[in-house]
Amino acid sequence: MKPPKGPQFSPDLNVRADFPLLTNDPGLHYLDSAATSQKPTVVLDALRAFYETANANPHRGAYSLSVRATECYHQARTRIAQFLGVADSDCLVFTRGTTEGLNLVAASWGMANVESGDDIVVTALDHHANFVPWQVLAMRKGAKFSVCELTPDGKIDLDFLARLLTRRTRIVAVSHVSNALGTINPLTEIARMVREKSDAILVCDGAQSAPHFPVAFDSLGVDFYAFSGHKMLGPMGIGGLIGKRAMLEQMPPYQTGGDMIEFVHDDRTTWNVLPHKFEAGTPNAANAVGLAAAVEYLDNIGMDRVREHERTLMSLAQERLSAIQGLRIYGPPPAERSGVVSFTLSDVHPHDLATILDGEGVCIRAGHHCAQPLMRRLDVPATARASFYVYNDESDIDALVTGINKAREIFGYVPA
């Protein structure tokens, strides 16, 4: 398969035409990319091309079609590893997404290495997917489970974290970017603290960073990094876990079955090499190919430009939303956030706001964002969240503001 052709961009990142769902529905203002992104034509084409020209079960057949499927799958891994700055692409294990990647580390490394009396540290900022697996692991192992508190503006309290770290700390789990607030966490500094004060492994939830700015795993300073394809223009059901080779090699398998074995004796089994040891069963080759097309597309734009585009939209959204009476924005200042604005409006519940915005064709997320520990600390049951990506522009923010003003009318804050 030849790589999808990169589109041509104008300086203002005018790419909406590349996304069929958005062109099919011109009145739609999709501001929920932190939940899942829309897909460009090149990704849909890559999926179709795989099924039309290369579909067979990878790693199995002796016939040339299966070899082609294997090659496509392998090339996809190499391409995605390159995108995420991993020199050793065998250290990128395909998963269903971030959630499965984090559960893999908890079930495999965690069950093999954490002991009673050890300590696992997470943060109050994290998504349930980077919170609950560690909580369950701690309960199973009789380990201590510590939650790092936040500063009032929704950042990890680094002094608090420093006090939590001891020689008994075995795992520290942090997100690169908060899905609920958009806070960009200082990973380099956190990694330095973890190395200095503990012997813990550092696990990073990258679901909200890989799609939005350049990420180079090899210089990130973390031991594991999990990400989701569907949040970065790729298909649903594919993502990955990147780990350090030495650790991945020592870890027991996560799931067992076909493809992940070396030899099955009647009384024991030996494991295949990386990455196959962690990929039991028929791999999701088509979606891996789709994700490779997505990162190709993102690289053609340039991740620096993606970041710059979102920063521009964020500043504009911040400015326009701050001017609305009764509207409160949560989290640190825009410069310290990725493309997310989390807010509440007077006594209008976020669900009501989302329903009224839907009336204007605006899609936002309303709820606890799978971050109930964070919502408790903010002392709100829910927030409304608008999140931006490459296909958004100023008209989406205009529609958001119009919808919010409509909600203010309906709830009687301004005369209709």
């Binding site: 099919n24 009145g27 009336g359």
Partner: protein, 149 residues
Amino acid sequence: MSQPRSSAEISALYQEMILDHYRRPRNKGVLEKADASVEMKNPLCGDEIALQVQFSGDEIRDLKFSGRGCSISQASASMMTQLLKGKSKEEIDAIRNQFRDLMLGVASAEDESRLGSLRALSGVARFPARVKCALLAWNALESALAERT
């Protein structure tokens, strides 16, 4: 292709009656003496309700709710408590069924008239994602009735 909601549908949803019960909920608080107490959460959105019921023979003598949520869930709880006070088990069962029909958009005009102010919630039927909000208090009621028996 998704069809954005019309303004008319949105206006039909957010009637004055709903906003009034949201802002000034009736029967909100805690009963000193309750025969049944139920706490219920909507795990999807985190909304929560606590419902307390005091019975007198076959009737609901008093009931109160507390918790927090959207205008639909709060108004539904407030109007429900208003309507059910003093009603017998048989009447309550009928009202519950009528309200469910209202949420499914299949209530008859006769049924609707029996629901009193709850009719203001008829617009919810057009918003499948919000029906669960309107039903939260009613699900709590069902548990409270079951707890009693």
